[in-house]
Amino acid sequence: MGALQSQSDHHEYVDLAQKTGFSFEQIGVLHKRFKQLSHDEETLRRDHFNEIPDLACNPIRAQIIGAFFDRRNYRQNSEGTVEEIDFENFLVVMSHFRPPSLHLTEEQRDNVRREKLRFLFNMHDTDNDGTITLEEYRHVVEELLSRSGALGKETAKSIADAAMLEVASISMGHMEPDEFYEGITFEHFFKLLKGFEIESKMNIHFWNMDTSTLCK
């Protein structure tokens, strides 16, 4: 449907395409979706996201929506949250999920991995102090298990604890009995999920065609 876009739109897209790496068609499709979500307004607010019916049963909905309004995900060295986002920021957040290109040097791959992990890290690190503390991690796991009722609540805690212990043992190796593990720093997080191959997993397929008419 990109061909149907008006000329002026196209100029705008060149800019965005350079910034985010999406193709014109993809930007067109996403723009359409943006308009659909925002009811033809220029900006998106949290309520708009809350209206998406498919998202309603997602256990980590709050975190996903939060990520869209988190300044850290737009560019580096900024923090805080915003109340509404324009299309550009929407696109920038989306671009974290763009699949990497086929030919990457080891360094580029590392960068992609770092960038994607940073996004995840920011989602966990809610107070933006550079570490994921035990409370924050527990919160993540609790949210993950929030759909499974009381049963989940109890176990979530011990799972998060076990996971935190694991992080400590992996990233610190061996600690003195009286050392304290403050929380997961990004470097530890990076090291922890090194074998996870995030660059091949945290991707979704952005269609060139417009399929949004199929969705609610």
Partner: protein, 832 residues
């Protein structure tokens, strides 16, 4: 017995011994088999006996002597021979792994084929008729199902489903392409035979296509045998292996189609259309049959909680019935088995006991490995046996065409597939996929099924098939390992899944689903999420008994992990050796009460514990003990209760082990609790002070003993010099026995408190704790060093050593060393 010693010893005589064993076995087999094969010697035995008897009868007419010993080989011939073959196969497998270098160079499959050739040759030399070992009936009904079930039951579903499109593309389109390309070109080559009017001219198109459809399918048995050894990364493994499994449907349809029409000679468009329909019916029908049996099996396993012993049987029998039912309708039996195994597994695993699960695992592995071994040996034997008709042109052209078609197919299909894939297949990947297209015994068995009257060229076909199999298994199978290393193709990660990865897998699933929903298109993740939800809501309730049906995946994973640790705890036996991963609940319990950080740090600053605090600690310890027992009981609940003694014994063992562990932990924990406080200028750092218990234990197993020794030594040491251990006295001048590893030194957020682990409490508390259990009024866990009369070990009389020496020794012993400590990924995962 020689086997035992052979496997135990590492002497130079080992290879020779292994070889000797092999030779003896082969000779034995050659000696025994003639009996089985034609049973002529034993007929003569029989005659001898009869003669004897007649002589007896001649002597006294009234009554036959009761035959004290008689020989009736016929009676047991078949099972005896089967056992002999299985024994031969198992011993061969054993033999190869006794020779260390050999199995590193040559794949097992090649060696087994060679053994088969030797055995076949010996049988032939003995002048006997070679038994038709690779009979199609035997192959498809007995040998193949275990291998496929093993593959299906342990199919890594996640990567399989994620790459299903690619796999199907390779399996269906790729195989079709191979069949028609090879068949067509083969026919063309046969026709352009120059002046030389050989029999190749008589070859028609349809037999050519039939032959090509047999030879073009990648064989799961061969692929498994080779790919298991090269440890390739998961993606490539599942692509090649998945293709070999799913192309069965194509092969079955093409085979029946061409076999049907080879007699008639013409194929109409209608027949092609019917062929396509038939393909869908065969593939989907197979999956459907498998899924039905799988669900039945899962449903049955819901009610087996009182008869644990026969649980594994249901899995095997239902799967085999699925296979047979599918074969009955000429549906794809392989796909039925795969579907059955994959469908039933999650539910069955949740229902059955842990022991049953182990049984299933081992039975499947055992059966499939014996089957595999037998198949390769039989392939060798059948090669010797078969009536061959070697035709240079036909064979060479076939081999070359197979290679060319495979490469072209893979490259062409990848070009198309890469447009849709998120993770693109690189050139290296394509090469390995093309090169991993091994052919195997299924092709041979299908060729064996051809009828001589319809296909006069059957022998030539068989010869060509065998040649292609040998070429792929020997040449490609042997070179693929060096090539993988040469190309630096990514290998499989050995490390097990850690809980963090599991959390993030789940997290990513939900995140990607959410993003897809926001983007407004329904992709892979969306449908997976829908399916998961459906599964959780309806299917699990029906198929899984009790509470476990509501268990989310993450919790299930966590429980599994805990279970594994419990088992390791038991398995680690009498030694003081701890499992490298601490049971997380226990160490967390230790950490829990220190949650409110500021208050505790103030308290910790006190040099001596208050009585209340002390009580608290004791309570934690006790609750720990109870919790452990509870956990162990819940573990035991799953076990078979057939042998109460065994269980009792196990429990005893566990308890004993647990006590040892607990003491060790208590020692460490108290050490932590009672050591002097952190420097007062950093009160904030005591948040989430994890890992102190865990980390001190998570040094590698090698160092563990040395550490415990060091602790003992330190005990002596401190007994000797109590003055050093005054309250609040941080032994800064004393370099740490547990030295921080350098790698973590640059991490800013970690505060290193230089309190010593060799403070006296680290040892004294053991006694302390023991006493605490006995008498109520002890002084508690005090900081004061105790002058015990006995000490924890009997070596206290050696206290005369100088403290300096002790410390040095201690440092040497407890230094984990750099190799054990660098925090690479391969370093000591949380779960071993």
């Amino acid at each position: 017995m020689p086997l035992r010693t052979g496997s135990a010893g590492f002497g130079r005589s080992l290879p020779e011994r292994g070889l000797l064993l092999l030779v003896v076995l082969v000779v034995l087999e050659g000696f025994f088999l003639p009996h089985g094969a034609a049973s002529s010697p034993d007929v003569s035995h029989q005659e001898n006996l009869d003669n004897h008897r007649e002589a007896d009868v001649g002597h006294n007419f009234t009554k036959k002597a009761f035959p004290v010993l008689s020989l009736d080989y016929h009676h047991i011939q078949t099972p005896f021979e089967i056992s002999l073959w299985v024994l031969l196969a198992s011993l061969m497998k054993l033999g190869f792994h006794l020779i260390p270098r050999l199995s590193g160079i040559v794949p097992e499959s090649c060696l087994l084929i060679v053994v088969g050739l030797l055995v076949g040759g010996l049988i032939k030399l003995a002048g006997e008729e070679v038994p038709p070992v690779l009979d199609s009936r035997l192959f498809f009904q007995c040998l193949l199902p275990p291998i496929i079930l093993d593959a299906g039951y342990f199919l890594p579903i996640r990567p399989f489903m994620e790459n299903l499109g690619t796999i199907l593309m390779f399996a269906v389109v790729g195989t079709l392409w191979n069949a028609f390309f090879i068949g067509g070109l083969l026919y063309a080559v046969c026709q352009i035979q120059p002046a030389n009017p050989s029999d190749l001219h008589q070859l028609e198109l349809l037999p050519c296509l039939l032959f090509a459809s047999i030879i073009s399918a990648v064989d799961p048995v061969a692929v498994l045998a080779v790919f298991e050894e090269i440890h390739i990364n998961e993606l490539l493994h599942i692509l090649v292996f998945g293709e070999s499994l799913l192309n069965d449907a194509v092969t079955v349809v093409l085979y029946h189609l061409f076999e049907e029409y080879a007699g008639v000679g013409t194929v109409t468009v209608m027949d092609c259309f019917l062929g396509v329909i038939s393909f869908l019916v065969v593939a989907l029908g197979g999956v459907l049959v498998g899924a039905i049996y799988g669900i039945l099996s899962a449903f049955t396993s819901r009610f087996t909680s009182h008869t644990r012993v026969i649980e594994p049987l249901f899995v095997f029998v239902y799967s085999y019935m699925a296979y047979l039912s599918a074969e009955m309708f000429h549906l794809s039996g392989i796909m039925a088995l795969i579907a059955c195994g994959a469908v039933m597994r999650p539910y069955v695993e949740a229902n059955i006991s842990h022991k049953s699960h182990t049984t299933i695992k081992y039975f499947l592995k055992m059966w499939s490995s014996v089957s595999e071994t037998l198949i390769f040996i039989f392939l060798g034997v059948a090669t010797v046996d078969g009536p061959h008709s070697w035709n240079w042109t036909f064979v060479t052209v076939t081999v070359i065409l197979c290679l060319v078609a495979r490469v072209m197919g893979v490259v062409g299909l990848t070009f198309v597939i890469n447009k849709f894939r998120i993770v693109k297949l690189t050139t290296k990947d394509q090469f390995i996929i093309a090169y991993g297209g091994l052919r195997g015994a299924i092709a041979f068995s299908l060729g064996f099924l051809l009828k001589k009257e319809h296909f006069p060229m059957r022998e030539m076909f068989l010869t060509a098939i065998i040649t292609v199999i040998f070429f792929t298994v020997f040449v490609q199978g042997m070179t693929i390992k060096p090539l993988v290393e040469l190309l630096a193709v990514k290998k499989k990660q050995e490390a097990k899944r850690s809980i963090n990865e599991e959390i993030h897998t789940q997290f990513l699933d939900h995140l990607l689903t959410g993003i897809e929903d926001i983007c407004g298109h329904y992709g892979h993740h969306h449908w997976k999420d829908k399916l998961n939800r459906f599964n959780k809501k309806y299917v699990k309730k029906c198929l899984i008994a009790g509470e476990r049906s509501k268990e989310p995946q993450l919790i299930a994973f966590y429980h599994k992990m805990e279970m594994k640790q419990a088992i390791e705890l038991v398995a680690s036996g009498g030694g003081v050796k701890l499992p490298s991963a601490m049971p997380s609940t226990v160490s967390m319990q230790n950490i829990q009460p220190k949650k409110p950080p500021i208050a505790k740090s103030a308290e910790r600053a006190l040099p001596q514990l208050t009585r209340g605090r002390e009580e608290e600690i004791r309570k934690i310890l006790r609750s720990n003990l109870q919790r452990t027992r509870q956990r162990l009981r819940s573990y035991n609940r799953h076990t078979l209760v057939v042998d109460p003694y065994e269980d009792g014994f196990n429990e005893l063992l566990i308890k004993k082990q647990k006590m040892i562990d607990l003491e060790k932990k208590i020692k460490e924990m108290n050490n932590y609790l009672t050591v002097p406080a952190a420097p007062p200028d950093s009160p904030t750092m005591c948040r989430a002070r994890l890992a102190q218990v865990n980390a001190s234990v998570s040094v590698s197993a090698k160092c563990r003993h040395s550490i415990s020794t060091a602790i003992l030594l330190s005990g002596r040491d401190t007994d000797f010099k109590p003055a050093q251990q005054q309250k609040g006295n941080r032994i800064c001048e004393d370099p740490q026995a547990y030295s921080m590893k350098p790698a973590s030194g640059n991490v800013p957020s970690i505060q290193v408190d230089l309190a010593s682990p060799q403070s006296p409490e680290s040892v004294n508390v053991i006694d302390e704790f023991r006493r605490a259990n006995r008498e109520e009024d002890d002084q508690g866990l005090v900081m004061r060093p105790r002058h015990r009369p006995g000490g924890p070990n009997k070596k206290t009389e050696e206290e005369g050593d100088t403290a300096k020496d002790q410390q040095k020794l201690m440092r040497c012993l407890s230094d984990p060393g750099p190799s054990a400590e660098d925090d690479e990924d391969e370093d000591e995962p949380f779960l071993p």
